[in-house]
């Protein structure tokens, strides 16, 4: 088996090697193109898989046909004018209505054909119209539906994730200096708390601060009715944000601090750090040049991945706090078999992830002189 794959392997690597010896520009272009093509294929496959799953391979069509039939039968029962129709006429009317509705959401075409048109539409970011869900402003455009929910999600999760990220990195740096101190031991002790997800702490926070003390609202995003002017609105928003942001932060912060602290400690036991200490550099200087610098690629990667993941929200946390974000939109879309919305959210994420992965390679090369774009064959 190993022998059998050997020729293939050398076949794949030979051109890369040959170009590596020629000019750097050619190597770079070549690498970029291959990388882009790979990422594109990844995006296509994963979006298509999502389409298949979101339709359960066509099974959802059966459910939707049943629903349409049901809805139209109900409509006829409720309409006195139609009740007077003769049996034959009524059957004809039902068939007609079912046909129109099926045509509206495209059920008249076979699923496999439709799945590919979903795919091309998704990949060209032509997100189309939702089947059931409309935005609060009444639009059926998936783009508008998503945009409307994006703001609340970004607000909540950007706050929570950015707080966690910066707090954990800086606090971890501080702890790596104070290794073994009481605070350090406390953080280490608390780090298992990150085993529980944010929504779980949300339950406790609601219990304490909303139900028992009554000082913060249970859920929602603003008071009902929403305050008409800007400043009271913002204050109300802030008041509603406290608990979900706290829940998210509590569930991630100690684990994150511990992970970064350990990471920094491992780097600060390198020989060159000892050397720098021996040279008598200030601890700030050591931190900046010998600890933060080599760990920059990791910090940037984590930050980038945090950024692109956070906008999707978290369905369970949003459900617990009744927050009108994207996570709950996805839940609703799934509940109503609204494929265009599900696929829309997925394809945006797929592109963002692909772009980030692509850019990270170049960013690594910028911040870390040891890394050359397309140089290492190992990194994928």
């Amino acid at each position: 088996m190993a022998e059998a794959t050997l020729p293939l392997q050398s076949g794949a690597e030979a051109p890369v090697k040959r170009q590596a010896s020629s000019s750097a520009l050619v190597r770079l272009t070549n690498y970029t193109l291959v990388k882009l093509a790979t990422l594109l294929v990844t995006v296509v496959i994963s979006v298509y898989l999502t389409i298949l799953i979101a339709n359960m391979g066509g099974y959802v069509d059966e459910i939707r046909r049943g629903q349409i039939q049901e809805a139209i039968n109900q409509q006829i029962l409720n309409n006195p004018q139609l009740r007077t129709l003769s049996q034959a006429e009524r059957t004809k009317y039902i068939e007609e209505q079912v046909r129109i509705e099926e045509e509206r959401i495209g059920l008249n075409r076979p699923f496999i054909v439709r799945s590919f048109s979903y795919l091309t539409h998704a990949l060209t970011l032509n997100l189309g119209r939702a089947e059931q869900i409309s935005s609060d402003s009444g639009s059926r455009q998936v783009r508008l539906v998503i945009l409307e929910r994006l703001a609340p999600t970004l607000l909540l999760f950007a706050a929570a994730n950015l707080i966690t990220f910066f707090l954990s990195v800086f606090f971890a740096l501080y702890l790596s200096r104070k290794y073994g101190s009481l605070v350090d031991k406390l953080v280490v002790m608390l780090s298992p708390t990150s085993a529980a997800p944010g929504w779980f702490y949300g339950l406790f926070l609601i219990l304490i601060f909303a139900a028992e003390l009554g000082i913060l609202p249970f859920d929602g995003m603003v008071d009902a009715p929403p305050p008409p002017t800007l400043i009271p609105y913002a204050l109300s928003l802030l008041k509603h944000m406290v608990l979900p942001v706290a829940a998210w932060t509590i569930s991630t912060i100690f684990g994150a601090i511990f992970a970064w602290r350990t990471f920094f400690l491992i780097y600060s036991s390198e020989d060159y750090v000892e050397m720098a200490k021996a040279k008598g550099l200030s601890s700030r200087e050591i931190e900046r040049r010998y600890i933060l610098h080599p760990t920059m690629p990791n910090i940037i990667t984590t930050f980038a991945l945090t950024l692109i993941t956070l906008w999707q929200g978290a369905p369970i946390l949003e459900t617990v706090f009744n927050w009108p974000g994207l996570g709950r939109l996805i839940l609703r879309a799934i509940g109503q078999y609204d494929t265009p919305v599900i696929v829309g959210v997925t394809v945006i994420f797929a592109y963002l992830l692909a772009i980030t992965v692509f850019l990270l390679d170049f960013i690594y090369a910028l911040v870390d002189p040891r890394v050359k774009v397309g140089g290492g064959g190992q990194k994928a």
Partner: protein, 447 residues
């Protein structure tokens, strides 16, 4: 292997890990107890049961032990039955064809609060003419309150709390308060002492009988309390233990070892195999994990085992592959692998005997750390209404509580009991995993 055992022994040096082990041990014992004391079929039958099983329980009653911590003592459920001797029954022939059956229900009531509701369930045995009952309530201070009189069929349920005429007679108080209220108290307080319900049933046939069961539905119930469907929460709390442990453990085992194995294969065979695995990992990173599980639950089936399978499949090609891959890439270059190749070991032998053992130190902590994630995943899915349709689980209790506004209504026990169990389970495994991480990764040990 010996070093592995030695490393595991080293865990005793970490007090938090010992705590974790003790908790996991207790949870396993609890799970075994659940499986032995309440077989699967019985648990499901109980949990799906309605009035016929849970009719004697109060609705949404907190656990009974809360009384120990509260100044205001609330009554538990009291059941008095003429058939099991908790209420007395005597007969007196009035005239030919007419007998009075007197049933006395003594109620010892030392509590400060009032019951939730009061009902009497009659069963009568007669040929043609139904018996006629009249109910009187005797208070400790000697008052006699006429409750009602009516004829009873073969079975009859009389709900005192819903009798509006009685409520009017009790000056607007519902029966469960009015009967126990101290006269003239405002706000209404309970008068402690021994009460008596006297039911005189007149039967018109020589061998006709009447029996009655009187239930004072309490404010508190049992070890764990009850939910909105009068179900005893201890059933689900108990049975949730093996379900949570099995789900967490199976998912963690299934994903960790498969992931490691796939990474080993990729690294060893290299070339297109490795490329393929890497590409699948990237595709998997794009696929929305939770939405896919939600879709499967919504469109297809909410069975916990299907969810388990789907979660495993989606996690196998997770980001951890990259970590194992990095280790395998190093190991692959070791001289002893070359030696193995030189003596002619085949690929599978090298993978199983030389590659995989080297990552066991990384895999074991990862395995233990993965357990809480899956336990909480199950609970989270249940909270979204995607819990297993038949099995009682902790997450489903939280979901029920949430849907019934437990936090708004101040029914904290309903949320806290399953949450605390979830928390304990999650923390216990996390603490063990944490210690294992330090034991197996020498770089972390001093840190």
């Amino acid at each position: 292997m010996k070093t592995l055992l030695r490393s595991i022994k080293e865990i005793t040096r970490y007090p938090s890990a010992i705590g974790g082990l003790v908790i996991v041990g207790l949870l396993v014992a609890l799970a075994l107890y659940a499986l032995v004391s309440m077989p699967y079929e019985k648990a499901i039958q109980l949990w799906r049961g309605g009035e016929e099983i849970w009719g004697e329980n109060p609705k949404t009653a907190p656990p009974a032990w809360l009384n120990y911590f509260s100044k205001v003592k609330q009554p538990p459920t009291m059941i008095l039955n003429t058939q099991d001797g908790t209420a007395s029954k005597s007969q007196e022939v009035i005239s030919e064809g007419m007998t009075d059956i007197t049933m006395v229900f003594p109620v010892d009531y030392p509590y400060d609060g009032f019951p939730q509701e009061i009902s009497i369930y009659f069963t009568a045995n007669y040929q043609e003419k139904p018996p006629y009952v009249s109910l009187t309530w005797l208070t400790p201070d000697g008052r006699e309150i006429r409750i009602s009189d009516f004829s009873v069929d073969k079975t009859k349920t009389y709900r005192l709390s819903q009798d509006e005429r009685l409520t009017r007679r009790l000056k607007g108080l519902p029966a469960e308060q009015g009967l126990f209220a101290a006269p003239g108290s405002d706000p209404v307080t309970a008068l402690p002492g021994t009460y008596q319900m006297r039911i005189v049933a007149t039967v018109f046939e020589p061998d006709a009988t009447v029996d009655a069961k009187m239930i004072f539905y309490g404010q508190l119930h049992g070890l764990a309390g009850t939910d909105h469907r009068r179900r005893d929460l201890s059933v689900a709390l108990l049975w949730g233990t093996p379900v949570a442990l099995a789900f967490g453990l199976l998912a963690a085992l299934g994903t960790t070892f498969t992931t490691m194995f796939i990474a080993a294969i990729g690294v060893w065979f290299g070339g297109w195999v490795d490329d393929l695995i890497q590409r699948i990992t990237e595709i998997d990173a794009v696929l929305p994990f939770l939405p896919i599980l939600i879709m499967i639950g919504t469109f297809y089936s909410r069975s916990i085992w299907l969810m388990l399978g789907a979660a495993i499949v989606l996690t196998i090609f997770g980001a951890q592959i990259k970590g194992y891959r990095a280790i395998f890439l190093q190991v692959k270059e070791s001289p002893y692998i070359e030696a193995a190749r030189a003596y002619g070991a085949n690929s599978w032998r090298i993978i199983f005997s030389y590659l995989i053992p080297r990552v066991v130190p990384v895999v074991i902590p990862a395995l233990v750390n993965a357990i809480p994630a899956f336990v909480f995943l199950e609970a989270g899915l249940a909270l979204l209404g995607l819990g297993d349709p038949v099995l009682p689980t902790w997450g489903k209790i939280v979901n029920d509580a949430y849907n019934n506004g437990a936090l708004f209504a101040g029914l904290y026990y309903w949320v806290l009991e399953p949450s605390v169990l979830l928390m304990i389970t999650g923390l216990a495994f996390a603490m063990i995993g944490f210690a294992l991480d330090r034991i197996f990764n020498p770089r972390l040990r001093g840190v």
